[in-house]
Structure formats: structure tokens, C-alpha cells
């Protein structure tokens, strides 16, 4: 049963006939996102036992649980399209799929964590809002669930950063400033290569799976997040990012060859992530079989 959606494309349910590119695209988007949610969360887990109070620890644990929940929501979409959840991890361990650039790092300080989370969460919200307009409806619904939880994460990250900027000393506030500069560039990369000129030749745009260009999402995100950091008391260096009189944001784009090396597990925490996943899967395989065996 096909129904028109706002973009002029049709919306498809799992059981609808649909173009191969939509099915393939949805399968790829959902499984890549599942991997990144499920492994990306390790970056935050490293800070759970350092969360400095009872309520803060509850909030951070809720956030970590949500991230795994996002992985679950999109992994279910991928599973229905024929990608077993085990495959999502195996493809990563065998080198067929990659983590996004931001997950190859670890946070060095509590102050970096808050600012990094704020930049990451806000970018993810912009990206998911765009992708949720896509034509594969089960994926769009999963993203809407994710977006709702991301708004809690965003408020939590804002709170963490606000706490440092209010109560931290000069060194601690300086770390927020440094984190802003380091992570801003990383998120610009995370949102993908410039594609305004090539969007219309992108098959995913043509079939309605990718409603907006990377550049459009990037502009939307900068519009939203730069004023937030300014309000927190962070200096926004025009060398890094500046707004042209037209309202358009200008920024330096990175060396994409370097990014490619990073994503090919060449980052400071890449090996640690691979090892964790491999060990956890090996260690727990028999317990998973036990639960499935007697279910």
C-alpha cells in the first residue's frame, strides 16, 4: 500500500513493494546507525564511574541506556530488512563497516565531555530530523523515537556545560573552550563532505531516503548551536567559523584524506573500541545462547 508523503515521494512500510534502492538504502542507513549507536556509547561509558554525584550518575546512566536503546530501535529496522543483529557487529570487526569519525576518540576531561556531548547531540538532532522525512517509514518512526530521547541528552549536556562554566575555575572553563574548538571541527566532518552541487545526482536523494544535503544540515546545526555556546560564555573564533552577511555560515573544511585514515580505525581509541566489542561478544556468547536456548 503506497502513500504520498510531503517530499513528493511515496512512503513505504516493510511489506510494501518498493524500489531496490530504498530497501538497500534503508538497510544500510539503519545498520550503520545501529553500529555507531551501540559502539559510540563506549565513549560515554568511560565516564560513568566518574560522574560526581548520585543524580548526575543516574542521568548519565539513563543517557547511556538511551544510546543503546537507539541502537536497538534501528537494529530492529535493519533486522526486518534481513540484517541479523550479529552481522552489525561482525561487519565492524571484519572491517566491512566503520565508525563515524567522532567515535574514534575518547574524552580526556569531564569538561570536554559536556561540551563534546552538547555539540554531538545537537548535530545528531538536526541530522535525525532531516532523515526522519525519508520515505522508509519504519526507519522514520525509529528516528522520531530517538529524537525525543536526544532532547533529554541535549538538555543534560547543556546542564553539564553550564555547571562547569558557572562553578569551574579558569582552567576548567578553558577546557570547555578547547573542547568546543576541537569538537566543532569533528562535528563538521561528522555531518559529511560538501555535497550541495552533487546532491541531485545522489541516488539516496533521488529515491527520497536523504531529504537534505550535508551542507544544509550543517547550516541548520550551526544556526542552532553557535548562539548556545556564545550564551554559555564560549568565544567563537571567526577563524574557525563565522557568519557571512547573507546569514550563511563559513568554516574551514578538513583534509578528507586524513579523515579517511582516522575512520579506517586509525584514531587514538579505534583499537580500544574494536577490542571491547570483540571481548564482550566472545565473553557473553554462551550466556546469550543460554537465554535463547530455553526461551
Amino acid at each position: 500500500m503506497l502513500t504520498a508523503n510531503a517530499a513528493g515521494h511515496r512512503g513505504y512500510e516493510l511489506w510494501d513493494p518498493m524500489p531496490d534502492d530504498v530497501r538497500e538504502g534503508a538497510r544500510r542507513f539503519a545498520s550503520v546507525q545501529a553500529l555507531n549507536e551501540l559502539v559510540g556509547v563506549l565513549q560515554y561509558v568511560e565516564w560513568l564511574d566518574r560522574a560526581p554525584g548520585h543524580t548526575r550518575r543516574q542521568m548519565l546512566m539513563a543517557k547511556i541506556q538511551d544510546e543503546v536503546g537507539h541502537g536497538h530501535a534501528v537494529a530492529r529496522v535493519a533486522e526486518d530488512l534481513g540484517v541479523p543483529r550479529e552481522r552489525i557487529f561482525l561487519d565492524y570487526l571484519e572491517g566491512h563497516t566503520k565508525l563515524h569519525n567522532i567515535f574514534h576518540f575518547s574524552f580526556q576531561t569531564w569538561e570536554e565531555l559536556g561540551a563534546g556531548l552538547l555539540l554531538t547531540n545537537s548535530a545528531a538532532i538536526c541530522q535525525f530530523q532531516s532523515l526522519a522525512k525519508g520515505v522508509y517509514l519504519p526507519y522514520a518512526r525509529a528516528l522520531r523515537k530517538v529524537e525525543r530521547e536526544e532532547s533529554f541528552h541535549y538538555q543534560h549536556a547543556l546542564d553539564l556545560t553550564h555547571e562547569v562554566m558557572t562553578h569551574g575555575d579558569a582552567v576548567q572553563r578553558r577546557r570547555v573552550q578547547d573542547a568546543f574548538e576541537v569538537w566543532l571541527t569533528r562535528i563538521l566532518i561528522y555531518l559529511g563532505p560538501p555535497d550541495t552541487d552533487t546532491l541531485h545526482t545522489n541516488r539516496m536523494w533521488q529515491v527520497g531516503m536523504k531529504p537534505d544535503s550535508n551542507d544544509a544540515v550543517r547550516q541548520k546545526w550551526l544556526n542552532k548551536i553557535i548562539p548556545v555556546f556564545r550564551k554559555l560564555g564560549v568565544h567563537v573564533d571567526p577563524e574557525l567559523v563565522r557568519q557571512a552577511p547573507s546569514g550563511e555560515w563559513e568554516y574551514a573544511m578538513p583534509d578528507w584524506a586524513e579523515v579517511k585514515k582516522l575512520i579506517a580505525n586509525g584514531g587514538p581509541s579505534s583499537q580500544k573500541r574494536l577490542d571491547w566489542v570483540r571481548n564482550a561478544l566472545d565473553r557473553n556468547a554462551k550466556y546469550r545462547r543460554a537465554m535463547q536456548g530455553v526461551a
Partner: protein
């Protein structure tokens, strides 16, 4: 507990009216045959509107909540810290409180956490003392379960463990609140005490792999439910009991969860020996669960009645003694302060890394 209804011929009908609107329950039908149910539902509920889809589910195949599960479904009340508005509201409340008290450090000084410096109370342990020691167990267990969220036993299990962990932390906090602690005092209790002042059970030291986590989770959930039932028997003030009743309700769910795991691990040939060993070791250490020593300070809203350790221990045995190769000692044993081993030492040190880098009171 959720139950499975038994009306074999009844079918529940769900319809979707537009592609962007959700599927809604619209009613039910009776159909003597499974293969006619969908068409009967269409003629009953689909005569007017264009439907995007129509789903028909046999009531017998559904798992639905019982009336007593309603509390478990109230996510906003149970877990306020997950709400988007929570961080902002908390910041505002704390700023207001700090203004009233003059400064954050005064808030901390006025808290009843001061009684950690008092000499341990003498004499018999009361129910309130048993609760306080269980709060230590719940706090450590909750943190260990938090780490398990990313252990990928399975994704659904990861989410369940995440909730059990957050609830254990919440219950640890509830117990302290019932004893009259305010939030800064709760934080001081869990983050600023030296390990020698903790009174964790010996079982906490044994949490290492998944089988021992299951066994330990089971023992702690059983202990909390036993103590909650005893407290309900002696406490007459219904208002004081609602917090304990809510803790008990959630811990019963945890107990069920761990029991299902215990059954699965002991039934499965590949894990049987390992789990039996872990269960024996954990239960052997569980004799001290109701052996708390008084730590002084007011009982708060918790009854200070003498704790009938032998009776409580018997009830614990009824809940955990039937497990594979249980080695629960016949009689209760006293708790010792300062246990928890290097795992607790590490966890306490980690908890102070950020905390100590800021002025006192910032994170309370």
C-alpha cells in the same frame, strides 16, 4: 505480573487512518475461526474511512498488564531524571536552595550526614540499620549493572539491565531519604565516605562475570523484598509505607528477571557448571545480608524496631535457597565494615576524580 488473557475467540482490532498517524486500537470482534477474523474486522471497523492498514490480533496471543502493574508503567513518576525538563528544573531548584541557605557548603554542613562521624551505635540493629546497609549494596550493584549496559549480552537485555541499575541507585537514594538525608547528604554518603565506613555485604565482592552478577542481583533483590515486607508489617503509617511499597514492587520485577536468568543459565548445558559454582559462592557469602551493625543517627521515617535477623534470614532462604547448589549458611552472620575489595576501592576513587576538582557542594 503481566498476564495472558484466555478468551480464545476474541480478536482485538487496530486500524491506521493515515500514514503519518499511529495505529490505534478501535475495538474487538468475536470470530469462531482464525481465517475469518480479518474480514469480519474489516466489515465491522472499516466501513467508512479509508484505512492505511488494519491489524487483527487474537486476544489469547497478547500479553497485557494486570491492574497492579500500573505503577510500573508510570515512567515519569518513577524515573524523573530521564525527562528532558529534569536537568533545567534541577538546576533552578538547586540555585534557589543555595540562595536560601546562603551557600552550598552550609547546606552540606546542616545535613544529617554528620552522623557518619559519630561512633557506631551500640546494641541491637533495628530495621532502619538493615536498610542503611542494604543501600550500600544497592548503590554498588546499581553501578556495576550500569557497566553491563554495554556488554552486549543482547540489546534488549542491555536495556533491562540499564533500568534495573538505575532503579537500584534510586532505591539506595530512597532509603537514605527515608532516614532523613537531604540530597547533599545522600551524595556525601555515597561519594565522600572512606571505604572503612561502608558496610557492603560480602556478596558485593563476588560480582565479576555475568553468572555472578545474576546470582548477586537475585540475592539483593530477594533481601530488599524480604525487608520491605517486614517493614510493612511493623510500620503503621501508610504514608511512610508508599515509598517502601514502590521499592518492593520494582525489586519483585528484578527478582523475577534474575530468576529467569538463573533458570536459563542452570538449564543450559554450556553454562550449567559455571552458574552452579557462581551461585554456590554468592549464596555462601550471603549470610551477612541481614547482619548490619548499627551506624547511629536517627531512624528517620524507617522503623527502628529490632530486626528479627533469624526470621528475615529464613525468608531469604525460602527465596534463594532453592537455587542450584545454594550454600546459604543456616544462620545469619554479622556484616563487617570496610569490605568490597579492590573493586569498591577503585569505584570510590573514580567517583572522587571530578568531585574533588571542584569546590565542596558544587555537585550535591
Amino acid at each position: 505480573m503481566p498476564h495472558i488473557p484466555t478468551d480464545t475467540d476474541v480478536y482485538e482490532v487496530f486500524a491506521q487512518h493515515g500514514s503519518s498517524t499511529p495505529l490505534n486500537h478501535v475495538g474487538s470482534i468475536v470470530s469462531p475461526r482464525r481465517d475469518t477474523a480479518w474480514h469480519l474486522a474489516k466489515e465491522t471497523y472499516g466501513r467508512r474511512d479509508d484505512l492505511v492498514t488494519l491489524w487483527v490480533v487474537r486476544r489469547d496471543d497478547m500479553i497485557v498488564p494486570s491492574a497492579e502493574d500500573r505503577g510500573l508503567l508510570a515512567a515519569k513518576t518513577r524515573m524523573p531524571h530521564r525527562q528532558p525538563g529534569f536537568p533545567t528544573a534541577r538546576r533552578r531548584d538547586r540555585a534557589a536552595a543555595a540562595e536560601t541557605a546562603g551557600s552550598a557548603s552550609q547546606v552540606r554542613d546542616s545535613a544529617p550526614a554528620a552522623h557518619r562521624d559519630e561512633a557506631p551505635g551500640a546494641g541491637e540493629a533495628g530495621l532502619a540499620d538493615l536498610w542503611l546497609a542494604l543501600a550500600d549494596d544497592l548503590f554498588v550493584l546499581g553501578n556495576r549493572l550500569g557497566e553491563r549496559i554495554c556488554d552486549y549480552i543482547d540489546v534488549e537485555e542491555a536495556l533491562a539491565v540499564g533500568s534495573i541499575g538505575q532503579e537500584a541507585l534510586a532505591h539506595a537514594g530512597t532509603i537514605l531519604t527515608l532516614r532523613g538525608f537531604d540530597q547533599p547528604a545522600v551524595d556525601a554518603w555515597f561519594f565522600d565516605r572512606a571505604q572503612e565506613q561502608w558496610q557492603v555485604s560480602r556478596v558485593i565482592e563476588r560480582i565479576t562475570d555475568w553468572p555472578s552478577t545474576v546470582a548477586c542481583g537475585l540475592v539483593v533483590a530477594a533481601a530488599v523484598t524480604v525487608l520491605a515486607e517486614q517493614t510493612a508489617q511493623v510500620e503503621t503509617d501508610a504514608a511512610q509505607l508508599s515509598a517502601i511499597a514502590a521499592v518492593r514492587e520494582e525489586q519483585l520485577v528484578h527478582l523475577d528477571h534474575w530468576r529467569r536468568w538463573a533458570r536459563a543459565l542452570s538449564d543450559w548445558p554450556e553454562t550449567r557448571a559455571e552458574f552452579t559454582r557462581a551461585y554456590a559462592e554468592v549464596t555462601e557469602l550471603a549470610g551477612d545480608v541481614f547482619g548490619a551493625r548499627p551506624q547511629g543517627g536517627p531512624a528517620g521515617a524507617l522503623p527502628g524496631d529490632p530486626a528479627p535477623a533469624a526470621t528475615l534470614h529464613e525468608r531469604l532462604a525460602a527465596l534463594v535457597g532453592g537455587g542450584p547448589g545454594s550454600q546459604l549458611p543456616e544462620h545469619p552472620l554479622p556484616r563487617t565494615a570496610g569490605l568490597g575489595g579492590s573493586a569498591l576501592a577503585h569505584s570510590l576513587a573514580q567517583g572522587r576524580v571530578v568531585r574533588d576538582a571542584y569546590a565542596p557542594g558544587v555537585f550535591s
